[in-house]
C-alpha cells in the first residue's frame, strides 16, 4: 500500500491484516517499554490544516511507539492566508526528505491532491467532507472487539461483520466518517443503515448500497451497532433542521431510545460529543457504549496503518 487516502484503498485482506495487527499493537500499550523499532529512521510529518487534538495526538503517539521521528506541523490557515499554495507548502516539506505525511485538511480531496504531488507516502487523516479512513478502521476495530465478546465466531470465510447491522445516524451530508465507514463496511461485510433528516443526506446516497431512512425508531431495534454523529450547531442556521430540540427529539439517542436498542447492541460516537443533542449522557456512558474503546483503539490502529504503509520499502518510492 503506497497511500491510505480512502477506505476504498483497503481490500479485505489488507483491512483484516490492519485490524489483526492493531490487536498486537494494543498489547504494546501495556508493556514497560512502549516502543517497537519497526519504523526506526523514518520521518513522519503530521500536518494539520485543521485542528484536531485527538487525531493528531493519536497519530503522533502511534509514530513514536514505532520509533519513527514524528514532527507536528500546525498549518491552520497558513497557506492561503500567506498566499502560499497547498502545493508549495507540501513540496517544501517533501524536499526535506519526509517519508510520510499524515494530513488533515478542511477541503475534500486535499490528501489525494497532495499524494499526486509529493514523493512521500500520504495518510489521509480527514479531508473535508470526504473521508477519514483511519477513523473507520478504529470504529471497525472497536466493533469487532465488541462482537467477539458476544461470542459466536463467524462462519468460515465470513468476517465478524457478516450479518451485522450498523446504523449511522446524523449529519451524513457533511460527514467524512460516514463515507469511510460505508466503504470499509462494504469490504468487511457489515450492513450499514443510514439515518438522517432528508436535508442532511448526501446527493445520490440511495446508490451507496445502504438502507436509508429518516425514521430512527423504525430501525433502532434491528441494529447491532448505533453510531451517532456529531451535529453542528451551524447547520441549524443553514436551515437543515429547525431547532436542537427537534433534532434531539427525532434523531438523538435519548434515554428512552436507549431502552429500545437490541440486546447487546453497541453505541459508537467518533467524538467530540454534543451531549444532550445527538446523544444523551445515559447513552454515552452506558455499559454498551464503545466511545472510550474507540479512542483507545486509535493509537493501535494507527500504529498498524503506519506499519503497513512504511514497514517495507516496497510502498516507498526511492
Amino acid at each position: 500500500m503506497r497511500h491510505l487516502l480512502s477506505a476504498a484503498d483497503l481490500d479485505l485482506a489488507t483491512a483484516t491484516a490492519v485490524l489483526d495487527l492493531a490487536e498486537e499493537m494494543q498489547q504494546v500499550q501495556s508493556r514497560p517499554v512502549k516502543k517497537l523499532p519497526a519504523l526506526r529512521g523514518r520521518t513522519i510529518v503530521n500536518i494539520f490544516f485543521e485542528d484536531s487534538t485527538r487525531t493528531r495526538t493519536s497519530f503522533e503517539i502511534a509514530g513514536k511507539w514505532l520509533s519513527a521521528d514524528t514532527i507536528n506541523v500546525s498549518a491552520k490557515g497558513s497557506s492561503v492566508s500567506k498566499g502560499e499554495s497547498l502545493r508549495d507548502t507540501m513540496m517544501t516539506l517533501d524536499a526535506m526528505g519526509v517519508d510520510a505525511f499524515v494530513i488533515r485538511h478542511s477541503s475534500s480531496g486535499a490528501a489525494a491532491q497532495v499524494a499526486g504531488w509529493v514523493k512521500a507516502q500520504v495518510v489521509n487523516a480527514g479531508d473535508g467532507q470526504h473521508e477519514h479512513p483511519t477513523q473507520a478502521l478504529l470504529d471497525a476495530y472497536a466493533m469487532r472487539q465488541h462482537f467477539r465478546t458476544l461470542g459466536a465466531a463467524p462462519a468460515p470465510g465470513a468476517t465478524e461483520f457478516a450479518g451485522k447491522r450498523i446504523a449511522i445516524v446524523g449529519d451524513l451530508l457533511h460527514s467524512r466518517v460516514v463515507r469511510s465507514n460505508v466503504l470499509l463496511q462494504r469490504t468487511l461485510g457489515g450492513e450499514v443503515v443510514l439515518v438522517a433528516p432528508p436535508t442532511l443526506l448526501p446527493t445520490g446516497v440511495e446508490n451507496w448500497g445502504c438502507e436509508v431512512t429518516g425514521d430512527l425508531d423504525a430501525v433502532l431495534g434491528t441494529c447491532d451497532v448505533v453510531m451517532m454523529l456529531r451535529v453542528q450547531r451551524e447547520r441549524m442556521a443553514g436551515g437543515y433542521f429547525p431547532t436542537e430540540r427537534e433534532y434531539s427529539e427525532r434523531f438523538g439517542l435519548t434515554e428512552e431510545r436507549l431502552a429500545a436498542l437490541k440486546p447487546g447492541a453497541a453505541i459508537c460516537h467518533p467524538g467530540p460529543m454534543n451531549r444532550g443533542v445527538e446523544i444523551s449522557s445515559a447513552a454515552a456512558d452506558a455499559a454498551n457504549s464503545l466511545v472510550l474503546d474507540q479512542v483507545a483503539a486509535g493509537v493501535a490502529v494507527r500504529m498498524s496503518v503506519l506499519y503497513h504503509l512504511l514497514g517495507s520499502d516496497e510502498g516507498a518510492v526511492h
Binding site: 492561503v80 499554495s85 508549495d88 486535499a110 491532491q113 473535508g128 445520490g204
Partner: protein, 427 residues
C-alpha cells in the same frame, strides 16, 4: 506573430457549403481571384476548408490586472491559433471594465497588441458588485463602442436591478449577457455538479436548477422589458428547456455553450484535479447530451469558449479553494468538430453559423462572421478536417496551462488564420 502580408492567392479551398474556390486576399479584403496578378504569392489549399474567422463571445484576457495569467497579446495569439479573428474580452479584470475609460484602455490594447479583433464587454454593475449600474451608456458611446454587458463570473442576482439593466440598454441596442447562478442555491463554495459525484466526493454541490431558475427569471424579465438577453455558458438540460420555451414564446434570447460543457463530464473531477474546476461545473452525461442537441437545433445559438486562464498558483489549492476556469480558445473548434461535426450532428455551414456568424451578430461586430465573398474583410481560417493530434498543454500560446484537454487525442484543424488579410497563425 502577426505578419504583415502582401496579397495572397489561396487556391483550391473548399467552402463550408462544399463549393471549391480560390480566394484572393488583397488590402485586407477578399477580392476577385481573377484580378490576382501573375506571380502573386500563392497558398495551395487543396483538401482544406476555408471558413469565416471564428468569433468568441466570451473570453477572459486578464489584462489589466493579471498579466501573469494572460495578456491581450497572449490571449489573442491563442485565439488566432484556434482560428478566431475576434474575441469579446470579459469585464472581470482588475480594475473592472465598468467605465468608458477602462473600456477604451482594453480596446486600445487590442488595437495595438491583438492578434485578432478585441471587442470589449462592459460590466453591468459597478465593480461587478451587483448593486449599482455601471456607466453603460458611456461605455456604449466610447471609442470601444461597447454593446455587450456582463458581470460574468458573478450573476446579477437582484431581479429589479436586472430589470433596470435590461431596460436601460435598449437605448443603444445593448445586450445583457448573464452568468446564470442562483447564489443562494449554488454559493461561492459550490464546485461540483450536484449529483452522486458531489455526494461521494464530499464537494459542495451546484445543482442544475441554480442555473435554470435564473434563466427562467431573466427570460421573463426580457419579455417584460422587450429587451434582448444573452445566456452565458448554458450547461444544463433544465437551462436548455427554459430557453427552448422562451424562444417558442418569441422572447429575444440567445445562448452560448462552452466547448468543455459539450465534451467534458463530472467524473473528471473525481481525482480532485483543479484543472477540471470550472464554473458552472462540468455536468453529467445527460446534460452534455442536452446541450449538444440544443446546439444542433439552434436552441443554443453559439459556442462561447469562456477561455479562463489561471496562473498555476491560483490552481494549486484544494479543490474548493482553487479558482474556477479552464482554457478554451485553442481547442474550441477541435471540440466542436469532435462532438458535433464528427458525429454527424452538425454540418459545416451550421458550425460557421454557431462559431462565427451568430456571435458576430450578438456583439454587433461589423466585418466579422461574414461570408467569404469578394468585398468582405479577409477574416478566415483554413481548416484541415482530417488532422488529429494529442493536445500538449505546454505548447499553448496562452500564458496559462490550465488546459483540460491536455493529453487528449483531438482534431487539430487550424492550418492558418487570417485577420484583415494578415496571417495571424500558420502551422
Amino acid at each position: 506573430m502577426t505578419t504583415t502580408s502582401g496579397p495572397l492567392l489561396i487556391t483550391g479551398a473548399t467552402l463550408a457549403d462544399g463549393t471549391r474556390t480560390d480566394l484572393y486576399l488583397a488590402e485586407g479584403r477578399l477580392a476577385d481571384p481573377a484580378s490576382a496578378p501573375a506571380g502573386v504569392e500563392r497558398l495551395d489549399a487543396e483538401g482544406l476548408l476555408a471558413l469565416p474567422g471564428l468569433v468568441d463571445p466570451h473570453t477572459h484576457l486578464r489584462q489589466p490586472g493579471r498579466e501573469d495569467a494572460e495578456t491581450v497579446a497572449s490571449g489573442t495569439a491563442a485565439a488566432a491559433r484556434g482560428g478566431f479573428t475576434c474575441v469579446h474580452a470579459m469585464a472581470n479584470t482588475t480594475p473592472v471594465t465598468d467605465t468608458a475609460e477602462a473600456a477604451e484602455y482594453v480596446a486600445a490594447l487590442g488595437e495595438r497588441e491583438g492578434h485578432c479583433e478585441v471587442r470589449v464587454v462592459g460590466a453591468v454593475t459597478k465593480g461587478l458588485d451587483g448593486e449599482e449600474l455601471a456607466e453603460l451608456g458611456m461605455m456604449a458611446d466610447s471609442a470601444a463602442g461597447v454593446r455587450l454587458f456582463s458581470d460574468d463570473g458573478r450573476c446579477v442576482g437582484d431581479s429589479l436591478l436586472m430589470r433596470r439593466a435590461l431596460t436601460y440598454v435598449k437605448a443603444f441596442d445593448g445586450v445583457i449577457a448573464q452568468h446564470s447562478q442562483d447564489v443562494s442555491l449554488a454559493g461561492p463554495g459550490a464546485c461540483c455538479h450536484e449529483s452522486e459525484w458531489s455526494g461521494r466526493l464530499g464537494l459542495p454541490g451546484w445543482p442544475s436548477q441554480a442555473e435554470s431558475i435564473i434563466i427562467a427569471r431573466d427570460v421573463q424579465l426580457a419579455e417584460l422589458t422587450g429587451s434582448r438577453i444573452h445566456v452565458c455558458h448554458v450547461s444544463t438540460a433544465e437551462g436548455v428547456d427554459v430557453i427552448r420555451w422562451a424562444k417558442a414564446r418569441g422572447i429575444r434570447v440567445t445562448a452560448e455553450v462552452t466547448p468543455h460543457h459539450l465534451l467534458l463530464d463530472t467524473p473528471l473531477v473525481a481525482g480532485y484535479d483543479t484543472t477540471f474546476k470550472v464554473n458552472p461545473p462540468l455536468r453529467t452525461s445527460e446534460h452534455l447530451e442536452a446541450v449538444r442537441e440544443a446546439l444542433a437545433d439552434g436552441t443554443i445559438d453559439m459556442v462561447g469558449t469562456d477561455h479562463a486562464p489561471h496562473a498555476r498558483q491560483d490552481k494549486d489549492h484544494p479543490f474548493d479553494v482553487a479558482l474556477p476556469g479552464m482554457l478554451g480558445l485553442e481547442q474550441a473548434l477541435a471540440v466542436v468538430m469532435e462532438v458535433m461535426v464528427g458525429t454527424g450532428r452538425m454540418d459545416w455551414p451550421t458550425l460557421v453559423e454557431r462559431m462565427s456568424a451568430a456571435p458576430a451578430r450578438l456583439g454587433q461586430v461589423p466585418g466579422q462572421g461574414r461570408p467569404l465573398a469578394a468585398g468582405e474583410p479577409a477574416n478566415l481560417v483554413l481548416v484541415d478536417p482530417a488532422a488529429r493530434a494529442t493536445v500538449d498543454a505546454s505548447a499553448s500560446r496562452s500564458r496559462s496551462r490550465n488546459n483540460p484537454y491536455d493529453g487528449r487525442d483531438l482534431p487539430d484543424p487550424v492550418v492558418a488564420t487570417f485577420w484583415k488579410g494578415r496571417r495571424t497563425y500558420a502551422r
